[in-house]
Assembly symmetry: C2
Homo-oligomer: 151 residues x 2
């Protein structure tokens, strides 16, 4: 049921968290200096492709909490910048598999380094127990609301 899909605009920061936003912002600054202009939204797509290359657009949409229209345009822009390419699936020709290009691949390492560094700074004085509580509360609030069809 496609209406069951979460919408990005709403869950965005909750799911990804302040720290992730800071990561994205630091990345953005860093790469802009190197002449690469990538938006925070585009980072979220690349991030999932680094974890698993060759995902379908729909799967990318699910993992980044976007609808398929938004995903289409994000990939359009990433393709224009030659960071990503679409390859029609041979098993099912409705499906576009999205692959990282040779330009995007080497960005992974520096990205991960910056991300780790930022997360460490963000969570400096936060204990494991506290993080667990926050995650748990989020999950329960989320469950409470989805049970009522409110998210």
């Amino acid at each position: 049921m496609s209406n069951n899909q979460f919408k990005r605009g709403e869950l965005y920061s909750v799911v990804n968290g302040m720290a992730t936003t800071a990561v994205a912002r630091r990345l953005q600054k860093n790469f802009r200096n190197a002449g690469l202009d990538i938006t925070i939204e585009q980072w979220s797509v690349l991030y999932h492709l680094w974890k698993e290359d060759g995902l379908s657009q729909l799967e990318l949409g699910n993992r980044t909490f976007r609808d398929k229209a938004s995903t289409t345009r994000l990939i359009d822009n990433l393709e224009k910048q030659e960071l990503v390419m679409r390859v029609a699936s041979k098993e099912d020709r409705r499906i576009n598999l999205v692959y990282l290009t040779d330009i995007a691949k080497p960005l992974q390492q520096i990205t991960y380094e910056l991300a780790n560094q930022t997360m460490n700074e963000a969570l400096l004085d936060i204990s494991k127990e506290e993080i667990d509580i926050v995650k748990n509360v989020f999950q329960r609030v989320y469950d409470n609301l989805t049970n009522k069809d409110l998210l």
Copy 2:
């Protein structure tokens, strides 16, 4: 320093929370049935005006974590729907004070009722202690990141 202002797209759901989103969504559905089409973003502005009518655009922007350009357009749209009106300040003619119209005012009560109801459902099984921990963790993560100029 105007660069010190938080950006909405980033802090949006963190600050307002999943529950607020759910409130807004429920409101949206409810009022759409009554022929009033108000976006979630517009709700956030109305919400602050119900708390304190006649705020300047800049103050509204601060309270809803938007920059002034975004605030301008949101108020443009609210004005088109005659939910809000701009009144130039007499003390300082650079300033627009934003007031609720007679159309918007009566929406407050039903809005607050729906909001309370939704919050209660969202936080059903969450204890006061847990909420305090979540708030506290957010504040500290936020502090950690702003100290490094990352938010």
